[in-house]
């Protein structure tokens, strides 16, 4: 499988096209692996679409009507996924990679949406900064996608993050047991974020976190005396990058480790995503899980 260079991908403005490329890559990488979580409890039929696994073709209907229908099972059809994309100002950070965290998050969100909708799963997509920028209720039809793509494409970095309050309020949108996908750089109070997400887990929701970071944020590849401007607060800070680099890296490593450790303990799926890594690889890995 040829991986898509995220930078090259970022040059493609059409999100749908990008998502197609990503999903094709994901599926190509997964063709030998069966989807998991397929229940044996039949739910309904749906028309075959290219790319569907032919093993689930209903041969009887094919024999009778010469039409291609797939058998769908109960669990699959019941999945509701709520994708929350952080669009705060800090997500607009590109660093030297050329792709912002928000763009990377958009791609992940869109690709996931497409994959889930292809499985007839209901997908809800929301974006938030200080508050929800938009909320698209869950639908399982593929026709749902243009709206989602349109919203995502027009989404731009917003204000400061009020991650916890947004999560707290978002609960009202989740009526049934769902999959909650958080795509964020988690720039906020770590304890509060973990606490808020644990709450959803406690409520028997599946929680999956895509922790999007720029490689520059981890490696801090700056040198010399530099003035840094906070993307969220616009505050400026003068410091000697060389001098604090080591300390900074330790702090960021601890920050990442805090989430990873806390989420592992809580059964929350945690994925550290660097914006220069291939989205399809990331998604493929998650699907294999």
């Amino acid at each position: 499988m040829k991986l898509l260079d995220p930078v090259e991908l970022s040059r493609i403005s059409n999100l749908r096209l990008k998502v197609n490329l990503v999903v094709e890559g994901v599926l190509a990488g997964l063709h030998s692996s069966p989807y998991r979580g397929h229940s044996q409890e039949f739910a309904q039929h749906r028309e075959y679409a290219p790319g569907d696994d032919p093993r689930y073709l209903d041969w009887k209907i094919l024999g009778r009507t010469e039409k291609l229908f797939l058998k769908q099972f109960q669990d699959e059809t019941n999945l509701r996924a709520h994708i929350l994309l952080d669009s705060s100002a800090s997500m607009g950070f590109k660093g030297s990679s050329g792709i912002s965290k928000l763009d990377f998050g958009k791609l992940v969100a869109a690709s996931l949406t497409y994959l889930l909708l292809r499985q007839e799963d209901a997908v809800s997509v929301s974006a938030f900064a200080e508050k929800l920028s938009f909320y698209i209720p869950p639908r399982h039809q593929l026709s749902h996608m243009p709206l989602i793509f349109e919203k995502l494409e027009t989404l731009s970095p917003g204000d400061e993050t009020s991650f916890v309050s947004v999560l707290r309020d978002f609960g009202k949108h989740i009526k049934k047991r769902s999959l909650l996908v958080i795509i964020s750089d988690l720039m906020g109070d770590a304890g509060e974020i973990i606490k808020a997400l644990k709450y959803y887990k406690f409520r028997h929701h599946e929680v999956m976190v895509f922790h999007v970071l720029n490689r520059g944020e981890l490696d801090f590849a700056y040198s010399g005396e530099t003035v840094f401007r906070d993307l969220e607060s616009a505050a400026e800070l003068f410091c000697d990058a060389d001098e604090i680099a080591d300390s900074y890296r330790k702090i960021v490593s601890a920050f990442v480790e805090t989430f990873k450790s806390a989420f592992r303990k809580s059964g929350i799926t945690y994925n550290l995503c660097l914006t220069d890594s291939a989205v399809e690889t990331l998604l493929a890995r998650i699907l294999k899980q």
């Binding site: 410091c239 604090i244 990442v256």
Partner: protein
């Protein structure tokens, strides 16, 4: 302690040292802000590094400022001087007053390889003058054993000083540094500044520091140039002596070798005038060594020339000049006690054959003879003693006595070296005790001396202080030598004719007689010895005024008064020709003065020098790299190189401080990705 700067104007650039601070402030303001996702981690990191960061920044800024300060200061040529606190502030000016004391003695002609020391030191003096700043006041004193020349005083006219130095020449005089005290006082007179620098350009040979230096309240810093102690050969005390018995001249010389160098065999050449007349090989162990006499014949009444040796680095003392007059014929007088027996076979006959120029008188005529005209008086078989003989001998006369049958009356003579008893009449042979070395080279064995037979003579006993030069078998003296007053006596205890012995008929007779006369005259000066030392004023009697031509060919009239001429221009060794109308030419041999040991180049030890200068001696400058050392002493120790070294260390420190973080081998992102 005082710090001075060779280029103080460079210090005007010191404000540049503040550049790092200014740049730091400017850069902080002008740096474009870099967008960053969230600065909360940066704040945390800064908080953690706050203490060490401030210190590091402070150190870094200090290092940069100090680096520039050191660089600028180094280019300003800082020098540190140590001295008494009260004088410190004046040192820079004090050091700019310098007197060059230049040794022009003949030992400075020593050739150290290529150039003689004098020329080397003149070059150094010129370089020193050129190194000094324009404000420096300089004086020069050239000295040997006297002050040769000085500048009129201290001056800052460098061109004049350089020209003055160019005109200086090494002399042939000895060294006596104490003579420089007076002109130094004149240089320093009326100057309120107590300290001075005196730079001594000398080989520092010990012979120049024998007389005490009269400071007269002067206080100065003295510097010398270190130089290696040299070995040296010189030839000394050449004398020309004429041997009347052998009718030839001998040149005698001594070689002096100082230092540790072993010369081995030396070539010594002998010159008559400018013509080389011979050469010998001689040894030169340390110290003084006499050289075997060199013999030559010359019919001239005056001989002059030189004895030279080759092989060492100080040529000036390798040549010694001589001049000698050939002695005139000895005046002889014969007093015969038996003149009646004259004719062939008489005593006076035989002696006349030996000395045809001798004047012969009878004993009765002796009272009328003026003995003082004669070099030797021969008394032959005389009857009576005379006070005249005693007086002659007391005044340094020489007497040769032959006893005979009339001599009984002479037995009581005081001047005889033997006590005479009776006449023996038994034939006896003669045993010779003569040493040729002590008897003008006469060797009896060469003349069939064993055939001498004496049938009659006087039995005698040698007196106190007398020497028996030949004796009979019986032990009685045959030939005895003694002194009386300032005179000398040779006594033959037998006759000078064949009545009592066969001596006159034997080949030994003539050589023995001539050797005996020469022996008696051996203490007579061979010649007038007009030997003078360089620089010595020549004063000699002359019947007429003289003009003198020196070895350089220049002719000058000597001052003349009261029958004596005076010549004060014998300033170099050589033969000086003295001419006067109607008088025979005269020659003066002028040589170096070795009395002070100028040819011994033993260098004064540092401790001896300090002792001589009574604590004023500051130090010796090394032969190589003396310029820096001199500058250090005159202007203080040069600090630039240390400052530059410190600046280099600061630069290294700055690099280390400016780049504190070493990138981890594994980046955080890689680590995170791996652990994920």
């Amino acid at each position: 302690m005082n710090i001075s700067f060779l280029n103080p104007s460079v210090l005007l650039a010191l404000p540049i040292a503040a550049l790092p601070i200014v740049l730091h402030l400017i850069r902080k303001k002008k740096n474009a802000a870099v967008p960053f996702s969230h600065i909360k981690f940066l704040k945390l990191a800064i908080e953690r590094k706050k203490g060490s960061s401030r210190l590091r920044k402070l150190l870094l800024l200090s290092a940069r400022v100090l680096f520039l300060l050191l660089i600028i200061t180094a280019f300003a040529g800082p020098r540190i001087q140590y001295g008494a606190p009260g004088r410190a502030e004046k040192n820079a000016e004090l050091s700019r007053e310098l007197v060059l004391l230049i040794d022009t003695s003949f030992s400075m002609r020593y050739n150290d390889g290529g150039k003689n020391r004098f020329d080397e030191y003149i070059l150094k003096a010129k370089k020193i003058v050129s190194l000094l700043p324009g404000s420096a006041r300089i004086g020069v004193i050239a000295y040997s054993n006297r002050v040769e020349s000085t500048t009129p005083g201290l001056t800052n006219d460098k061109n004049y000083i350089l020209s003055f130095l160019s005109q200086l020449k090494p002399t042939y005089r000895t060294t006596d540094i104490s003579c420089a005290a007076e002109p130094l006082k004149e240089f320093f007179a009326g100057n309120s500044i107590a300290d001075k620098t005196v730079l001594l350009l000398s080989d520092l040979a010990a012979h120049g520091f024998t007389a005490p230096f009269n400071y007269g309240g002067m206080n100065f810093k003295l510097l010398g140039f270190d130089n290696s102690e040299a070995s040296n050969l010189s030839i000394r005390d050449v004398s020309a002596e004429f041997s009347e018995s052998q009718d030839k001249w001998s040149l005698n010389a001594r070689v002096f070798s100082s230092g540790e160098r072993q010369y081995g065999s030396l070539a010594i050449s002998y010159y008559s005038g400018m013509t080389k007349i011979g050469a010998v090989q001689a040894e030169a162990p340390k110290g003084e060594t006499p050289v075997k006499p060199f013999y030559f014949k010359s019919t001239a009444g005056v001989v002059n020339g030189s004895v030279r040796l080759t092989g060492d680095n100080l040529q000036a003392d390798n040549c010694y000049y001589y001049s000698a007059l050939k002695p005139g014929k000895a005046a002889l007088c014969v007093i015969d006690g038996d003149p009646g027996a004259g004719g062939s076979g008489s005593e006076s006959y035989y002696l006349h054959t030996a000395f045809p120029e001798a004047d012969v008188f009878g004993e009765s005529e002796a009272e009328a003879v003026a003995f003082e005209k004669y070099d030797v008086v021969m008394l032959l078989n005389i009857r009576d003693n005379s006070d005249k003989y005693n007086a002659y001998l007391k005044n340094g006369g020489k007497v040769m006595v032959f006893l005979g049958n009339h001599s009984a009356g002479l037995a009581q003579a005081e001047f005889l070296p033997c006590e005479i008893a009776s006449v023996f009449e038994t034939p006896l042979s003669v045993k010779w005790n003569i040493s040729p070395k002590d008897f003008q080279g006469f060797n009896p064995a060469e003349f069939e001396s064993q055939n001498i037979s004496v049938k009659s003579g006087y039995a005698s006993t040698p007196g106190a202080g007398s020497a028996v030069l030949a004796a009979y078998d019986s032990g009685w003296p045959f030939l005895c030598e003694g002194t009386y007053g300032r005179g000398r006596v040779l006594l033959f205890t037998t006759t000078a004719d064949r009545d009592w012995n066969n001596l006159p008929s034997k080949p030994i007779f003539l050589p023995l007689m001539r050797a005996a006369v020469a022996h008696l005259l051996s203490d007579r000066k061979t010649a007038a010895e007009p030997y003078y030392k360089v620089g010595e004023i020549v004063r000699r009697k002359s019947l007429k005024p003289v003009s003198i031509t020196g070895p350089d060919g220049k002719r000058a009239k000597a001052a003349y008064f009261n029958g004596e001429y005076e010549y004060s221009m014998a300033n170099e060794p050589g033969i000086y020709e003295v001419k006067a109308d109607g008088l025979p030419d005269e020659y003066l041999a002028v040589n170096l003065d070795y009395s002070t040991g100028e040819d011994a180049l033993k260098r004064f030890a540092d401790s001896e020098l300090r002792e001589y200068w009574e604590g004023r001696f500051a130090g010796l400058l090394p032969a190589a790299g003396w310029e820096d050392e001199l500058a250090s002493i005159l202007y203080g120790k040069e600090l630039s190189r240390y400052l530059l070294l410190a600046a280099l260390l600061l630069l290294i420190a700055e690099i280390l401080l400016a780049n504190p973080g070493v990138r981890p081998k594994e980046l955080s992102s890689e680590k995170a990705a791996r652990s994920f």
